[in-house]
Subunit: 121 residues, 2 copies
């Protein structure tokens, strides 16, 4: 995993890490703050590792404050990935358009109920 885009997507491919980003989106948090919701499910070193993955992907920056390590969401780290996705937007919007067109069609057909029973064409 060399390129930064792969690193970013890989970092996002884990629910624990996404939950951490969600928490950081509400405000900065220390390692133990971030760990709190998960200490039932995993150990502190596991949390440290997850944070390191987020750091290396450039999604989080960690600073020092006495014995604490306040972490901050780095929004810019998501930009490259979002730009990549943007290229494909048309491909889900076009299928939405098809759905919309279909719904429009069946609705107008419903409105013509009784007027014409020949549904074969």
């Amino acid at each position: 995993m060399q390129d930064s885009l792969s690193q970013t997507f890989a970092a996002l491919a884990d629910p624990t890490r996404r939950a951490m980003l969600a928490q950081l989106s509400k405000g900065d948090a220390s390692v133990s703050d971030l760990a709190k919701p998960f200490l039932g499910e995993m150990s502190l070193p596991a949390v440290t590792k997850h944070i390191k993955v987020l750091e290396k992907a450039g999604l989080v920056t960690k600073t020092k404050d006495a014995q604490w390590r306040p972490c901050k969401l780095n929004g810019e780290g998501l930009k490259e990935a979002a730009d990549w996705m943007e290229e494909y937007r048309v491909f889900w919007e076009e299928s939405f358009d098809r759905l919309e067109a279909y719904l429009k069609k069946v609705t107008s057909e419903k409105n013509q109920e009784g007027k014409n029973d020949d549904c074969q064409k």
Copy 2:
């Protein structure tokens, strides 16, 4: 890796697979079509595996046509991931705003050159 969002991001976390999606965005392609750009770097079974990852993530659908397996980009498979990212848009736009504000500031300071040499405040 249970949840579909993790599966999607994991599928995107590989340059070979992203290149395949890029090719499919230009039009449907068979497995060997998709393999062509990579046959110098990897074998056909490796390509089959990559396609299977994309399929399981719902990003690609594969059909049958004689001995060929035409693949199609499924744009809707990206929607969930794009929606997730959208939540964080403000976090990279806000840092862009800060940059913009900074550039505006230094520009206006530059315009005042000679008028006031006290750059300490």
